[in-house]
């Protein structure tokens, strides 16, 4: 208790010196926290971008579909499954999908395109599909049109198709027949040809099931949860429930395996950057502690000469430095939380946007989390505690007359 009181009194005795040392420690803590915040925030926004634009957080397929997608690897969206998904409080929204490809004709132009069939209302609750419509209207707004489609920007340019025009689709039906029908363009998706959706054609689930002779069958169910971090747990829970139904439930980490692996590799590389920042934090704290203690060698020499035990000197230096770093972190906590919160809302734009695992990344943003706040705090205090051992031992072992002369 005496050590604590003395350590606190020492900090107040040299206010300017303590303030300077405290500011250094606080600065390094805030720097480390923001660095972690941006790192986590960037990955978080990447994952959100990916799951919000296409995959959702969890997906359900027929067994083997993920490894080898096929028109024939489908399943019936039976009422019990519908009820289970709708009743589950963890699932915020879900949507059924059908995928295929078709040969598209418009006058003398033709191309092959990937088809994605959706339930317009349910899909809009899981992904940002509605916001992707650049011209025309969304599928659910074209209720009076027979076989409405959203045409990707790239395909629209290729076919030189206009809104309201009818395109010819020819593909393979799930019953082996030649699927053929007419579809009307009601909207254009994708801002530029580079966007992933600009090479897609979106149609309603009903028209795709009729076109492809699928009946009530679908290829995929995508789920949206409260948070992407719940995906693995929820997928495992649903898999357990659906085991007998020969369905495969996977979280986004498995569905978007390529992206996830790239992200993990990138995260590992990012730890090198974080290690460099940790080293800087450690050096700054070390210099601060050394400056704080070696400047007071005369004082410690005098205390030893007056009969203070070396152990007390050792303890007081350790406690003083730990206390200083602790106070710096407490003050820094407001700054780190505030700045991380600010940057989590107002990300920093990347010009030009970069592609990462097939997702266009246009801004980096931070994130406020316990990890981002407490890991740097524990690290800063821990480093201060450890590096204080060296000057503490040196001061405790000093010969009083020599220590007093050093000043």
């Amino acid at each position: 208790m005496l050590t604590l009181r003395l350590a606190f009194r020492n900090l107040l005795r040299h206010k300017s010196r303590s303030l300077l040392c405290g500011l250094s420690m606080m600065g390094t803590y805030v720097l480390f926290s923001i660095s972690l915040g941006f790192s986590d925030g960037s990955y978080g926004s990447l994952i959100r971008m990916l799951t919000d634009t296409h995959s959702g957080h969890v997906q359900i397929h027929s067994q083997g579909y993920l490894e080898r997608p096929s028109l024939f690897r489908n399943f019936i969206l039976y009422p019990a499954l519908k009820n289970q998904l709708t009743a589950d409080p963890e699932i915020k929204a879900w949507t059924a999908r059908v995928f295929s490809a078709a040969l598209i004709f418009r006058e003398n132009k033709s191309t092959i395109a990937r088809l994605m069939a959706i339930d317009p209302e349910q899909e809009a609750q899981v992904t940002t599909i509605r916001e992707k419509v650049q011209d025309g209207e969304y599928l659910s707004e074209a209720a009076d049109v027979t076989n409405p489609i959203l045409l990707g920007r790239h395909l629209q340019k290729l076919l030189q198709a206009k809104l309201g025009e009818t395109l010819i689709f020819i593909g393979q039906g799930a019953d082996g027949s030649i699927a053929n029908d007419l579809f009307t363009v009601v909207g254009i998706v994708g801002k530029s040809s580079a966007d992933a959706e600009s090479r897609m054609i979106y149609m309603t689930l009903e028209s795709a099931q009729e076109f492809l002779s699928l009946g009530e069958r679908i290829h995929e169910i995508a789920l949206r949860l409260e948070n992407y971090s719940e995906a693995r747990r929820q997928a495992a829970y649903l898999q357990n429930y659906l085991k007998a139904k020969e369905l495969d439930v996977q979280p986004w980490q498995v569905v978007e395996e390529q992206f996830y692996k790239a992200m993990l590799a990138d995260q590992q590389g990012n730890w090198i950057t974080q290690a460099v920042i940790m080293l800087i934090v450690g050096l700054v704290v070390l210099i601060t502690v050394l400056m704080n203690t070696f400047e007071r060698r005369h004082e410690y020499g005098l205390l030893l000469a007056l009969g203070t035990s070396p152990g007390f000197i050792f303890r007081s230096i350790i406690v003083e430095m730990t206390m200083l770093s602790g106070l710096s972190v407490i003050v820094g906590l407001f700054f780190s939380s505030g700045l991380n919160w600010y940057f989590s809302i107002n990300g920093i734009a990347i010009e030009p946007p970069m592609e990462y695992g097939g997702v266009i990344f246009s801004a980096i943003s931070s994130e406020v989390s316990l990890f981002v706040i407490f890991v740097p705090a524990v690290f800063t205090i821990g480093v201060a505690f450890l590096v204080a051992f060296f000057p503490a031992i040196k001061s405790a072992r000093a010969v009083p007359i020599e220590a007093m002369r050093e000043n």
Partner: protein, 246 residues
């Protein structure tokens, strides 16, 4: 005297006619002309069974000589009115729903016809075995007393994926029983079996043909419901204008 004349005719003529029929060319010609006359008009049912789906289609087929064929799908409702026109070695499909005629390009000749185990190429080349292959009459591997056994190997200029085709023909009535398709490595890939031999349209024909694709575990069963070898139809039935007519 009459009897002697009759015996003389039997002794001198019959061996030559049998020889003509049992020559490889004669047998192949019989197989090629089995379902055709100068012209024919048939209704048939095609049942396709695969691992993933099953479908039954009813079709109306017109043919003229060995080269011209028109097929019109009567059911199911979704495919009703789809037509396939074959003129010589070329093929076109017409889809009434989109009112479009599509030529089957050479690159798609080996693709399935209407999801069946028959390829477009089978339809185009169905009656040109004698032209495209070297034929050899061999001893039937299991029952030489019952069947003729023809082995066909492609001519150098023939474009085909088959390395060999074997045909088993019943000796008693020259009816084909089995046709086996091998790839270039000699592996059996498809088997077509003929059955249900009966009198139809004044001719004895196998009313049922079943094609099995061995590595796909699928089969296509064609059953003739009726066939007329002396039909009356318009001369321009094998034309694009008729193809587009609903």
């Amino acid at each position: 005297m009459k009897q002697i004349f009759g015996i003389a005719i039997f002794v001198f003529v019959f061996p030559f006619s049998v020889l003509a029929e049992t020559s490889v060319e004669g047998l192949l010609d019989k197989v090629d002309r089995l379902y055709r006359s100068d012209s024919s008009h048939a209704t048939m049912e095609m049942k396709i069974v695969t691992e993933n789906w099953e479908r039954t289609t009813v079709m109306e087929v017109w043919s003229r000589g060995m080269n011209d064929t028109l097929i019109k799908i009567l059911s199911p409702r979704k495919d009703k009115g789809i037509k396939t026109l074959k003129l010589g070695n070329q093929m076109w499909n017409y889809f009434p729903k989109i009112n479009k005629v599509l030529k089957v390009p050479p690159s798609m000749m080996m693709n399935s016809w209407m999801g069946s185990d028959f390829t477009n190429d089978d339809l185009v080349k169905e009656n040109t075995l004698a032209e495209d292959y070297h034929a050899k009459l061999e001893e039937h591997p299991s029952d030489p007393n019952q069947f003729y056994f023809i082995v066909l190997r492609p001519k150098n200029e023939t474009v085909t994926v088959w390395g060999k085709i074997s045909i088993s023909i019943r000796r008693q009535d020259f009816m084909p029983v089995e046709q086996i398709y091998y790839n270039e490595d000699g592996e059996k890939k498809r088997v077509m079996e003929f059955s249900g031999i009966q009198q139809m349209g004044g001719k004895m024909i196998p009313a049922v043909m079943e094609m099995r694709t061995l590595n796909k575990n699928s089969r296509t069963l064609i059953r003739y419901k009726s066939i007329d070898f002396k039909p009356v139809f318009s001369k321009n039935i094998f034309s694009f204008s008729q193809l587009r007519r609903k």
